[in-house]
């Protein structure tokens, strides 16, 4: 299942969830992830419910995760400083660590990468800043993503790709995602794997890996 791992429909954006699903389907996606209560299928496109937790304290994350998590719900936590990231990556029930590009450079290091691999937590690659930012701000994001790819080449933690679209005009096609991910050194196989990660996170087919 090719999935856009986070979209923000109405009222956060200007496009309804159904319209977002319709357009995502036309752009080559099989499913989208959105912050909704229940999962559904619209015009053949699966809508996966997500819980996005934005906290700066790992204990609060743990509390909210117990309430938010459920069967079929993809749980995402916004990344923070290094200690926070290491702590949340160890909390069971977490699926995706997102917005790593917004944190300081050393916030996601080799220890966090190793933990992500062993706990089977995906790191989200947000394509929104690559599309909408320009100049130094985009350069910084590119640098962070290239750094993540360097760590990934060693630890092989899962990745997800998201457009973080608030409008259907912010969605990008699967082909466009291949092109954009090429900017950070991802090859076709890696992009394909990242697009299909969401399904694996909800229904893990393999046990978590121990990394030495």
């Amino acid at each position: 299942m090719v999935t856009d791992c986070c979209v923000h429909p109405y009222p956060d954006g200007d496009t309804s969830l159904r319209r977002m699903a319709l357009e995502a389907g036309a752009l080559g996606f099989d499913s989208i992830v959105a912050q909704v209560r229940q999962g559904s299928i619209y015009q053949g496109i699966r809508i996966i419910p997500a819980a996005i937790i934005a906290e700066t304290d790992a204990r609060k994350v743990s509390g909210r995760l117990k309430r938010a998590g459920g069967e079929g719900v993809l749980v995402m936590v916004n990344a923070g400083e290094n200690g926070f990231n290491r702590a949340v990556l160890n909390i069971s029930g977490l699926h995706i660590l997102r917005q790593v590009h917004r944190t300081q450079k050393n916030s996601f290091d080799h220890i966090a990468a190793r933990t992500a691999t062993s706990r089977n937590v995906a790191i989200d690659i947000d394509l929104y800043p690559l599309i909408h930012d320009t100049g130094t701000s985009r350069q910084k994001v590119l640098q962070r993503y290239q750094d993540i790819m360097t760590l990934r080449s060693r630890y092989r933690f899962p990745l997800t790709l998201s457009s973080n679209a608030c409008s259907w005009l912010d969605l990008r096609s699967v082909d466009d995602m291949y092109h954009l991910c090429g900017l950070i050194g991802m090859d076709e196989g890696e992009v394909r794997e990242a697009l299909e990660t969401a399904d694996d996170l909800l229904m893990p087919s393999r046990p978590a890996r121990e990394v030495l």
Binding site: Y10, D14, T15, S16, R18, R19, L22, L27, Y42, Q43, L130, I131, H132, T134, G135, R138, S167, W168, L169, D170, L171, R172, S173, D175, D176, H179, L180, G182, L183
Partner: protein
């Protein structure tokens, strides 16, 4: 002037892109500068010059673009980073790449989306929107008012919820 022999000519590639949302009115000059700005911002002046891109046509919701062979991937990447033209929010969807304009136009042969049709007024949270329905389910709402006309993109099925 004697034309250059074919072996010395630069090989070209042609890209077909759809302009979303349907019906948006943008001038070819504005679109050209938006694409050029995206290309330059992403890959720099050197590659933008090498790409030698030109906008062949921009009509009926499609844009035909020509560039140097070998740089079409970079140009398609740049097209995906175009988010607006002259303040209007647009998205360019690359549909096909071809070696000749004729082949590209054959790829475009699928029927163009039918023109939108007015489908009454919707009232959402106290605001009145005029609705344009097209391609079956899709409904675009434009807020009625003098300034700050908000856009909403829904489907026909959303009507009951809103």
């Amino acid at each position: 002037m004697k034309p250059r022999p074919p072996t010395l000519r630069t090989k070209k590639r042609y890209i077909l892109a759809r302009i979303d949302p349907p019906g948006v009115e943008i001038g070819p000059r504005d679109l050209y500068y938006s694409i050029l700005e995206s290309l330059t911002s992403l890959f720099g002046d050197v590659l933008a010059a090498e790409a030698g891109f030109i906008l062949i046509s921009c009509e009926s919701g499609y844009a035909e673009i020509r560039c140097t062979r070998g740089l079409e991937h970079q140009l398609r990447t740049a097209l995906s980073t175009v988010t607006g033209v002259q303040g209007k929010k647009v998205a360019l969807r690359s549909l096909a790449t071809s070696g000749t304009l004729l082949a590209l136009r054959k790829r475009r042969s699928r029927p163009l989306p039918p023109q939108s049709e007015e489908s009454g007024e919707w009232e959402i949270l106290g605001s009145v929107y005029s609705a344009r329905r097209y391609q079956g389910q899709k409904v675009d709402l434009v807020e009625k008012g003098i300034k700050g006309q908000e856009l909403l993109f829904l489907t026909q099925d959303d009507r009951e919820e809103f």
